[in-house]
């Protein structure tokens, strides 16, 4: 059986592409490494409730030994941890993970959809740093719109016009924006026209794949404050929705099917995809192997897993792996290193209600400073201290240890809980060839090499941290926040800390993993072209976060999806034109 398209990965890219292509009459096969999780939500919610770690992956099964994924408190916080799936070599730990099951990481994502700014595509030509994209905002704008309409995004064009953003005339988001939380409103009232570095600072509702009304057969958001790691009522979009639609349109889905290699024939085209299947997630080892063939192939297995497949496909003829003439496969690994600040508001704002984040500060995202230091968007949390202090656990433990009980304990907790605030900064990271994922010597239970990661924070990004701390201090002073920030959770010099001047900083991961098979016009310096088509392998498309040339401060799934939409249109036109 030869398919029209084989898609590797059933995350947001794989599922939506499969749905589009199958609806257009194409014969599509989706290969998913993990299990089918679609009936799991009630059990996942309970597992999250009962988990001592409220990490992004805490709701989901940890017992799949054949398709492991990183776990925050094991894989991403330390180097060379023998219990981890990843082989982390440092010097800093890469701190963001992903899911391997149907629907991919949209199970635990936040679902925010800020578009990239026009200048984000041209950092080199505008500011003399980083690398330009081979496409611009105008190339992606129609596909941003298509993505917003496909997924169902709540937003408002009127409040998204900052930093040079523009929208097609007459366009509006499918749903009204997510209402800013009461906490956001009180912060906004206290900002009162405040400016930073000459820029006005105000909060705007962030576009989100979160229903604000009954929409597309799903409920409106009820503010359960667990978007990360799981929406208990599926008001937050996840890719299982389009995975099911793809199947209804005729696509086939094979789960528990891990792709290990892309096979390339003598003409330089993909001749098949090699896979390994396992019968039981808990029993290590393969149950079957095989090869599937198609007219076109899409790898959408995640920016960390896809380069692993390409590198593992090396042969005598292709000693660097498939699509890797440039030697850029696996390189330029980027995230948004994320510092956090927290404290007590001067009045009750009733935290821990609503989506985990409803508003951000977008006005500090672009300007001449980008020649000198990384930009950031400011993320305003609604989850109080539940992340930064593990509350309520942290505050209860602290107070009880200090001898507080009874009515005083209740009152002190009320004071903390109703006034708690957390903000964070998504800081841009430059593409560096030395930040990379390659193949480890160690194999997984199916015999496939595990990811080996080398990672560091570049000086441009570190200067973004310095500016972020300055913004945090002045912002807290302006709105009257009593800071309780502990800059360092660990000793200075430990993994995830670094020093600039006299000050130590610590970063967390933002889950925005990008860059590992970047796009470009020049096959000597990039892996795919502007259509996410491998330069050297014309029937191979490599989508998701890997094509990102840079990782400006935006939550990246929106651009990942817009790129995939553009790729889908290109595949369809090439198929119809007979060139694919």
């Amino acid at each position: 059986m030869t398919y029209d398209v084989v898609i590797v990965g059933s995350g947001i890219v794989g599922s939506i592409l499969a749905s589009k292509l199958a609806s257009a009459g194409k014969h599509v096969l989706i290969l998913e490494a993990g299990v089918d999780a679609r009936n799991g939500r009630p059990g996942f919610v309970e597992k999250f409730h009962l988990s001592p770690y409220k990490d992004p992956e805490s709701p989901y099964p940890d017992d799949n030994v054949n398709a492991r994924r990183p776990i925050t408190h094991i894989d991403t916080a330390s180097l060379n941890n023998p219990a981890a799936y990843w082989i982390q070599k440092g010097p800093q730990p890469f701190s963001s993970g992903y899911e391997r099951q149907t629907g991919g990481t949209t199970w635990h994502w936040m679902g925010l959809f800020p578009r990239m700014l026009p200048n984000d595509f041209a950092l080199q030509s505008k500011y003399g740093v980083g690398v330009d994209w081979p496409i611009g905002y105008a190339d992606l704008e129609p596909f941003y719109r298509e993505s917003e309409e496909t997924v169902g995004v709540a937003g408002s064009v009127a409040i998204q016009k900052y930093g040079g953003l523009w929208f097609a005339p007459g366009y509006e988001y499918p749903m009204d924006p997510v209402p800013p939380s009461y906490s956001d409103q009180r912060i906004q009232a206290r900002l009162d026209g405040w400016t930073y570095d000459g820029q006005p600072v105000y909060l705007t509702s962030t576009p989100a794949a979160r229903n604000t009304k009954f929409y597309d057969g799903r409920r409106a958001c009820q503010g359960n404050t667990s978007c990360i790691p799981i929406c208990p009522i599926q008001a937050k979009y996840d890719a299982t929705i389009h995975l099911s639609r793809a199947q209804q349109a005729g696509a086939e889905l094979w789960t528990q099917t891990v792709v290990d290699k892309v096979l390339v024939d003598g003409t330089g085209r993909v001749s098949g995809i090699s896979y390994v299947q396992y019968a039981d997630p808990k029993t290590p080892g393969p149950s079957a192997r095989g090869v599937v063939t198609a007219k076109a192939y899409v790898l959408a297995a995640h920016a960390m897993e896809t380069p692993k497949i390409l590198l593992n496909s090396r042969t005598d003829a292709l000693p660097n792996g498939v699509a890797n003439r440039s030697d850029q496969v696996g390189r330029n690994l980027m995230d948004h290193p994320f510092p956090v600040y927290w404290g007590l508001m001067p009045e009750p704002v009733y935290a821990m209600r609503g989506p985990r984040m409803t508003s951000g500060i977008e006005t500090l995202r672009d300007g001449p400073f980008r020649a000198e230091r990384a930009t950031f968007r400011v993320d305003i949390g609604n989850e109080g201290w539940t992340w930064v202090n593990d509350d309520p656990n942290g505050s209860v433990a602290d107070l009880v240890s200090a001898g507080v009980f009874g009515a005083a304990l209740r009152q002190r907790l009320h004071d903390i809980g109703t006034r708690s605030l957390r903000i964070g900064f998504l800081i841009e990271q430059l593409p560096l060839p030395t930040n990379c994922v390659t193949l480890a010597d160690q194999a997984d239970a199916l015999g496939i090499p595990r990811p080996k990661i080398e990672y560091d924070i570049d000086p441009y990004c570190k200067q973004g941290f310095v500016a972020a701390r300055d913004v945090a201090a002045k912002l807290f002073a302006q709105i009257g926040v009593d800071s309780r920030t502990k800059i360092l959770y660990v000793d200075p010099g430990k993994p995830s800390t670094f020093k600039v001047g006299h000050d130590w900083y610590q970063f967390f991961g933002a889950g925005h993993i990008c860059g590992t098979f970047r796009m470009g016009a020049d096959p000597a310096t990039s892996v795919v072209n502007a259509n996410c088509q491998a330069h050297d392998v014309k029937n191979l498309f490599v989508a998701d976060g890997g094509p990102f040339v840079s990782n400006p401060d935006k939550n990246c799934t929106w651009t990942i999806l817009a790129l995939a939409m553009r790729t889908s249109e290109y595949i369809a036109s090439q198929r119809n034109g007979g060139t694919l």
């Binding site: 958001c221 009820q222 359960n224 989506p355 656990n393 009980f405 009515a407 809980g417």
Partner: protein, 143 residues
């Protein structure tokens, strides 16, 4: 099932330790019967010390003559500040506030109904009460 009469003492002690009223923590119609559940958890894990704590509490309650401030003072001096009784009292306080014993939640219900959420005027993260967009306003009663 015959209720253990010591549950009554456990509830009385819990009222002092948590600052929540008897009707808030031991409603007879509580579908989860948390007071009984928590008494059972503590008794199974530290029955000997619990018996000592409740004996001291019963004495203090009798001596207080219904004066709650007197009772609080006695619990502070004779239980809270007196090892090992005070250590168990701290664990019982955290059990009510967090729904956890020895670092683990007793059940899904104890996560959702941990008193800390109520004290903080919040609700358990990830537990849906099916109310739309309430986050845009202060909680009911504060508007």
């Amino acid at each position: 099932m015959t209720a253990d009469p010591a549950i009554e003492s456990f509830v009385g002690l819990s009222v002092i330790l948590t600052g929540f009223s008897r009707s808030e923590i031991a409603d007879p119609l509580d579908p989860d019967q948390l007071a009984s559940v928590y008494y059972g958890v503590v008794k199974a894990s530290a029955g000997g010390t619990l018996a000592m704590v409740l004996a001291v509490f019963d004495q203090a309650q009798a001596a207080s003559g219904g004066d709650e401030q007197k009772l609080i003072a006695a619990v502070t001096a004779d239980i809270w500040k007196r090892p090992p009784l005070g250590d168990l009292a701290k664990q019982i306080t955290k059990l009510w506030y967090l729904g956890q014993w020895d670092g683990a939640y007793v059940s899904d219900a104890t996560y959702i109904r941990a008193l800390a959420w109520t004290a903080m005027e919040a609700k358990a993260i990830g537990y849906s009460e099916f109310v739309d967009q309430s986050w845009a306003h202060p909680p009911a009663g504060k508007r």
